[in-house]
Symmetry: C2
Subunit: 357 residues, 2 copies
């Protein structure tokens, strides 16, 4: 039987544990996994593109556990009342190949992306950072706001979205819940960015959108570029990258999907694990512009599923009969044809366990 964490199960957990605790704990597990980078069998994600979006599989293994995430990206889905990004995933045992956990990863991806962003900013942003511009106020934005508020002490966030209703939704969701966080509506990206210590872009258009232009960038800013995450989908003007210290998660994937897809193949980038283990300094001066060119890497989902297994699973977590359980593993046919109404002792088949919500 495979443990199952659905949307409702994660909702219950988030409300009990609080999102800021979940994000902080997840960030710590992501940090632990980046510290043992060389143990992971890594591969760029496997994408299937169509005219309207992409479906991707993101496998990874540390030799003990294997995980993969299924994730789609369909910017026009919102017009049909559907999510731009949905995801689910599986954690499995390498020794047997058996899956152990199937989980929703839509909410979880928002949590782990925010956790990764804030973790990177903790290394890369100026320590005195207190204000952030948040460009794009869609499905992921609240999680980014909470992560930076909780993990970096950001207490002022300037909001901009081409859709004002998205900004209103963010304010409605966060204002009473996080009273120490000042939320400011801006009339444009430029206005939101002006004077901010950190700039987070989390827009969804599947185009080379140039959300940020070089004239907006001030010395010492840290840019957390989250929305540009597949071929043909970027948010930053190339000249911003030319003048910045650019960190990516996994270079072979980021060259294809990240902001650096705009740059020549020899454009220098630093992989994030080198920042985490201290072998490369994340920031050389207070005036340096830093960019975390984040596309989301399988390792972060691996960490997130470790989190789910550790903190969300409980005695009554639903189980799925996704994999047969048999006394004689060579007798698949006998299992398939066994009388479903007779006892397991007679058939050697484990009794079907009811799936419960």
């Amino acid at each position: 039987m495979v443990s199952y964490i659905g949307t409702r199960e994660l909702q219950k957990h988030l409300q009990q544990a609080r999102p800021e605790t979940a994000i902080s704990r997840m960030a710590e597990m992501i940090r632990e996994d980046y510290l043992r980078w060389s143990q992971f069998d890594k591969t760029p994600r496997v994408a299937s593109h169509s005219e309207v979006g992409v479906i991707e599989l993101m496998p990874i293994s540390d030799g003990t556990h294997y995980s993969f995430k299924y994730v789609n990206g369909h910017p026009k889905n919102t017009h049909a009342g559907l999510l731009t990004v949905t995801a689910f995933g599986v954690l499995a045992d390498v020794d047997t190949g058996y899956p152990r956990l199937l989980s929703e990863l839509t909410l979880t991806t928002a949590l782990r992306t925010a956790a990764t962003s804030a973790l990177a900013a903790r290394y890369m942003a100026r320590p005195d950072s207190r204000s952030m511009a948040l460009i794009g106020n869609g499905a992921q934005s609240e999680f980014q706001a909470i992560a930076f508020h909780t993990m970096l002490g950001i207490n002022e966030i300037r909001l901009f979205d081409v859709d004002p209703a998205a900004t209103e939704k963010l304010i409605r969701n966060l204002s009473s819940r996080y009273p120490s966080l000042r939320l400011i509506r801006a009339a444009s990206t430029a206005e939101a960015v002006r004077g901010a210590d950190i700039v987070t872009t989390v827009t969804a258009d599947k185009t080379n959108a140039t959300i940020l232009t070089p004239d907006m960038i001030e010395p010492g800013m840290h840019i957390n570029g989250v929305g540009g995450d597949c071929p043909g989908k970027t948010e930053l003007h190339a000249d911003i990258l030319h003048q910045a210290f650019v960190v990516v998660e996994y270079e072979p994937q980021s060259r294809i999907e990240g902001e650096v897809q705009q740059m020549p193949a020899d454009f220098p980038v630093t992989e994030f694990w080198r920042i985490v283990n201290g072998s490369v300094a994340a920031r050389q001066s207070a005036a340096q512009v830093t960019v975390f060119d984040s596309v989301g890497f399988a390792l972060e989902d691996f960490s997130a599923m470790r989190y789910l297994e550790k903190f969300v699973l409980h005695r009554d977590t639903p189980m799925l009969d996704l994999i047969p359980e048999m006394m004689d593993p060579k007798d698949l046919f006998g299992m398939g044809m066994a009388d479903l109404n007779i006892s397991s002792e007679k058939t050697g088949i484990a009794p079907a366990v009811p799936i419960h919500a």
Copy 2:
């Protein structure tokens, strides 16, 4: 909500529909999909190897639907009472990226592999074939026997396995259920193969095992090589391939995983879709030796999941809350934090539907 077909659901279906009907129907859907080969976005499977086995992801899309299968191969699992091969998969909509069906694919893989084998043999074996040697009597063997009995009229099967208990299990499972099928125990592979029209090898060792040697092969034989399906795992002596007409499913994958991994890169192979659409003749003479070097291709799982959706789903199929359902797709946070006890009208969130067995 995502439809869910677990082991028990498929057991119920198999017992109602009968395995031979399921295999025949699945073979027809596999044939339909091989006939539109060029419509598919194809890729070799993505493998994660360890010392004891492999975990693979097998994605494919026809532009309307996308599917992937998760499948492991762990030959030593049987010693721990676990299956060598387990699998599950998802069928999704390309337009939205949303999954529509999550299904067990362990039993289903055995059905679709047998369906593919018999479909290939219908083109490749001599039309007067009546006897088959079945080498390897493990989890997949009964399905192969049923497929060849039903789809080709094979009425005599000579059985050999290094584990006599596996052979006894096959006979126990099939003898009363298929009285018109003659099942014969052989003392060795050579004895089983002698005089057979078709030879099916479906052994599980993760080694270059050389189950069949050139001296066993007689003119006109069709060899259905099923067990050799990953790097370092083959069943046929290279000289058998040198003298045969060799058909593979998807050349880029088979060069890595199939029997032809032993051969030079320019060793001639024919892709199966060319046989199905008639552009290449499957057999030039009654004396020709033919080999279906089968490793299992994602297209066959795509067809199998089309089958499951068409023939197994029903009004009361369980549903999983794997993907959030929301009125405002930009309000993922609001969904995550919504009061789980208040009505969907107030929150704009679809009510959680209980998961039932």
